[in-house]
């Protein structure tokens, strides 16, 4: 390598770290992340989950307000708690998966609530209906990974989840708890 090129490259190499994005967590570890939900049927909590989803995020605890998240759920991967339910909920009255194969959450703002608590607000779209959603979450660092855990409630009828005879909230409650647990590695 010529002396000239070293002279030219050296300043660039020194600049490189400063030009990289702020330190933060961006690489979601899918196999350690989960999106679950809890509904109430006849007063009894029934758990479910989504097996396939794509989560992207950028979060630096030093600058939480710059955090961003985007979650895309493959609705066909739903486990609603039983075989009967799994066959039922992909249908038109529930998630109408054929017409609406994905549900998404796109964050708009993230703010710190103090301590390890934060809150993300954004647009939640399920079955083609979009509603504002606000989810408090906690963040902790664990073995070089960032762990995000949060829970928020939606009203299923806001999204036309469970139409027709299923709109009776006396049998299946309107409120559904959504729980997420996302593990992400630091930016490379």
């Amino acid at each position: 390598m010529s002396r000239l090129s070293i002279l030219v490259l050296a300043p660039l190499l020194m600049l490189a770290p400063a030009a990289a994005p702020a330190a933060g967590y961006t690489e979601v570890v899918a196999e350690r992340s989960a999106v679950r939900f809890v509904s109430r049927q006849m007063g009894v909590e029934v758990g479910g989950s989504f097996e396939r989803f794509d989560a992207r995020l950028e979060f630096d605890p030093a600058h939480p307000e710059q955090g961003r998240a985007r979650l895309e759920i493959d609705m066909a991967s739903i486990d609603a708690g039983s075989r009967d339910a799994n066959e039922e909920v992909v249908g038109r009255d529930w998630f109408d998966v054929r017409t609406h194969p994905r549900a998404t959450f796109v964050s708009s703002t993230v703010r710190a609530l103090g301590g390890n608590r934060y809150e993300v607000a954004g647009q939640l779209t399920i079955k083609g209906r979009t509603r504002e959603a606000v989810a408090p979450f906690t963040f902790r660092q664990e073995g070089g990974l960032g762990v995000f855990e949060g829970q928020f409630a939606i009203r299923r009828l806001d999204f036309a989840i469970g139409e027709g005879m299923w709109s009776d909230v006396g049998v299946v409650a309107d409120e559904v708890q959504i729980r997420f647990n996302v593990v992400a590695a630091a930016a490379r």
Partner: protein
């Protein structure tokens, strides 16, 4: 002679239990073939609530029975008849306990906790495990048909005492207190 009738409490408990079991059995047969619907979820919940109630009833009956032994069987009964009656009654009690237990365990294995009347949660003794749930379902159904067979035997034996032997055995549990004449 010692009293020939069961106590009034035992008679009331017996007939309430009979009505409850008949209802539970009929509802059980009806609900399993329902297509998934809000009605099905309701009926399953009712069945489970009634099943827990039946279990509690059996415990009450056993407690009462412990303090109030049944009246003696007539001296005219043969030893084998007494033995058969004891075994059949014992089996009825075992099934009345085992059936709700199997239903509760099945429900847990299927992933549905039992919450009595939607208010009192009964803990899940076992975790969700659908294969175990399928097995418990078969056990629950088999025990129920066994109970149904035993109940028919029980009714047949009671009627035999009434119509053929013409002894006190039927009357000691019949609500209106039919006596040997």
């Amino acid at each position: 002679m010692t009293p020939v009738r069961y106590t009034a409490v035992a008679i009331v408990l017996h007939w309430l239990m009979a009505a409850l079991l008949l209802g539970l059995f009929a509802v059980g047969l009806y609900m399993v073939d329902l297509p998934l619907s809000p009605r099905k979820l309701q009926v399953y919940s009712w069945h489970k609530w009634a099943g827990v109630t039946a279990f509690a009833f059996v415990l009450v009956r056993l407690a009462w029975r412990a303090g109030h032994p049944p009246p003696p069987l007539p001296a005219s009964m043969a030893v084998w008849e007494r033995a058969a009656a004891a075994v059949a009654h014992g089996a009825l009690y075992v099934l009345m306990l085992a059936i709700p237990l199997s239903g509760w365990l099945m429900s847990s294995a299927m992933g549905f906790q039992t919450v009595w009347f939607g208010v009192l949660p009964i803990p899940d003794l076992i975790g969700k495990n659908e294969e175990l749930g399928d097995l418990l379902r078969i056990i629950h159904i088999s025990l129920n048909y066994t109970l149904a067979g035993l109940v028919l035997l029980h009714i047949g034996a009671a009627l035999k005492h009434r119509l053929i032997n013409r002894d006190d055995v039927f009357g000691r549990m019949w609500p209106s207190g039919i006596r040997k004449t």
